[in-house]
């Protein structure tokens, strides 16, 4: 159900922008919404990070996969259980660049043997592999798009395009990232649809971004390889947007505005969704704090000044009533007054 609702949502976005642009509302889908989306993304991202940074992290949370640093004669695992800042940076880099926690993913299987069922834990690295492919392809595709955003084209674009199309298949050259990202999005989507356990916990907020990104990829691929959108007109138009002097969108096919609108939808949706793991991964307390709980004194950062009310003071307040009720007191009435 969640899958079909997400699919309908994405198709509605596609149809609205395609037919909207065809009906002459290019200014809306090609100018107003992109500017709003950029502003919304920047403000939303900053707000979200700020709201997270307001939460104190009082002490280390050592969810470790390795031996803690202790004595010299006990071998420790500094990358899994770092005790210094530099090793923690290493752990963070491995997490961010190679998705180490996905690499640890395991699955439970039950082997039927003659002696009855036996449980086994296998490593399950498909998710890790396709997540890695997906993220790096997305990065390369995003960077390749800088050819439309700047003039002259930034230095890194040519090298990226060369490496990406190095097999020289067809014309325009087939980019490996285009194929790989479709495969990766497809895997991540089908995994949610066909794996019972994952489907059970999948929500609209899981399907929607995947379908949205899939839609962006497909419309982009369609424009490059099939409909051959006039990239000269597109670059002139996009440069108009990025120099804050928008030009007329004449001669640009509606599919371009659909592509652009889906990207805008992604930008606007981004800060309020699970996609914020882009910023959130840097703030993971179980990853970014060295495990030095036993080496340093950690003071509770929001430690409030405490009001003490000692037993002596309590007895001073209520001595008469306590004596009246026959309760034992440390100081009898006559001595307390003195």
């Amino acid at each position: 159900m969640a899958f079909f609702i997400s699919l309908i949502l994405v198709l509605t976005l596609c149809a609205a922008s395609y037919y909207g642009a065809e009906a002459g509302m290019q200014w809306l889908f090609g100018m107003t919404i992109p500017y709003l989306a950029i502003a919304g993304f920047v403000c939303g991202f900053a707000y979200k990070i700020y709201s997270w940074a307001k939460s104190p992290v009082p002490f280390r949370i050592p969810t470790t996969g390795g031996q803690q640093y202790s004595h010299e004669w006990i071998k420790n695992d500094p990358l899994d259980n770092p005790h210094t800042v530099s090793w923690t940076v290493g752990r963070m880099l491995l997490e961010i660049l190679t998705f180490r926690s996905l690499f640890r993913n395991t699955e439970v299987v039950i082997h039927r043997t003659e002696d009855g069922p036996r449980v086994a834990y296998n490593s399950a690295r498909w998710l890790w592999l396709f997540a890695l492919i997906f993220h790096y392809c997305f990065l390369v595709i995003f960077l390749r798009h800088f050819r439309f955003f700047m003039d002259p084209v930034p230095f890194f674009v040519r090298g990226l395009e060369f490496m990406d199309g190095i097999f020289q298949i067809g014309a325009p050259r087939l980019y490996q990232t285009d194929v790989l990202i479709l495969a990766a999005v497809g895997f991540l989507l089908l995994r949610r649809v066909f794996d019972q356990k994952v489907r059970y916990i999948s929500l609209i907020s899981d399907y929607f971004p995947l379908l949205l990104i899939g839609g962006i990829c497909l419309s982009g691929i369609y424009m490059r390889y099939l409909s051959k959108t006039d990239i000269n007109a597109v670059k002139t138009y996009v440069m108009g947007l990025f120099t804050l002097s928008p030009v007329s969108a004449e001669g640009i096919a509606p599919i371009f505005f659909m592509h652009l609108f889906l990207v805008c939808a992604l930008l606007l949706y981004f800060p309020w969704s699970k996609l914020m793991h882009l910023g959130g991964v840097f703030l993971s307390p179980t990853r970014n704090l060295p495990n030095d709980s036993r080496m340093r004194l950690h003071v509770n950062p929001w430690k409030p000044p405490k009001k003490y009310h000692t037993y002596e003071a309590y007895e001073d307040d209520f001595r008469e009533f306590m004596v009246e009720a026959g309760l034992p007191v440390d100081k009898p009435l006559d001595k307390a007054d003195a």
Partner: protein
């Protein structure tokens, strides 16, 4: 806000990088001019309608390459029945004599670097 000395620079760097094209173009007062093609003066028609050609020339040239080199097909019949040699240098570049002002003017602006000229010799134009 906790750990602001780490989080704030990170946030500023990220947002600065991701909005780089916007503020860089605005601050450097970039004005983008769409490339102007130098069209041949003595010719009226291309082998295919110019509009189609603009979108499909790379596919056409790729097809020509495969047909000429692999299938031995050496002529191309246009829609109006005219027959052309399948040749980038002898057909295309005989009218579009200036690579810099024709091919490169769009290609460079849009970071397109076809590998035609790794084998072919670019005409030196009207010099």
């Amino acid at each position: 806000m906790y750990n602001a000395k780490y989080i704030m620079p990170g946030l500023v760097i990220f947002l600065g990088l991701i909005t780089f094209p916007l503020w860089f173009n605005v601050l450097s007062c970039t004005r983008y001019e769409a490339p102007q093609l130098a069209l041949p003066e003595d010719q009226q028609e291309c082998i295919i309608d110019a509009k189609v050609m603009r979108a499909e020339h790379m596919t056409l040239l790729n097809d020509w390459r495969d047909k000429y080199v692999r299938d031995g097909e050496i002529t191309f019949t246009a829609a109006n029945g005219k027959i052309y040699d399948m040749s980038l240098m002898n057909t295309c570049m005989s009218c579009h004599t200036n690579k810099e002002q024709f091919c490169d003017s769009c290609h460079t602006k849009n970071s397109v670097y076809p590998y035609c000229w790794e084998c072919h010799i670019a005409p030196r134009g009207n010099q």
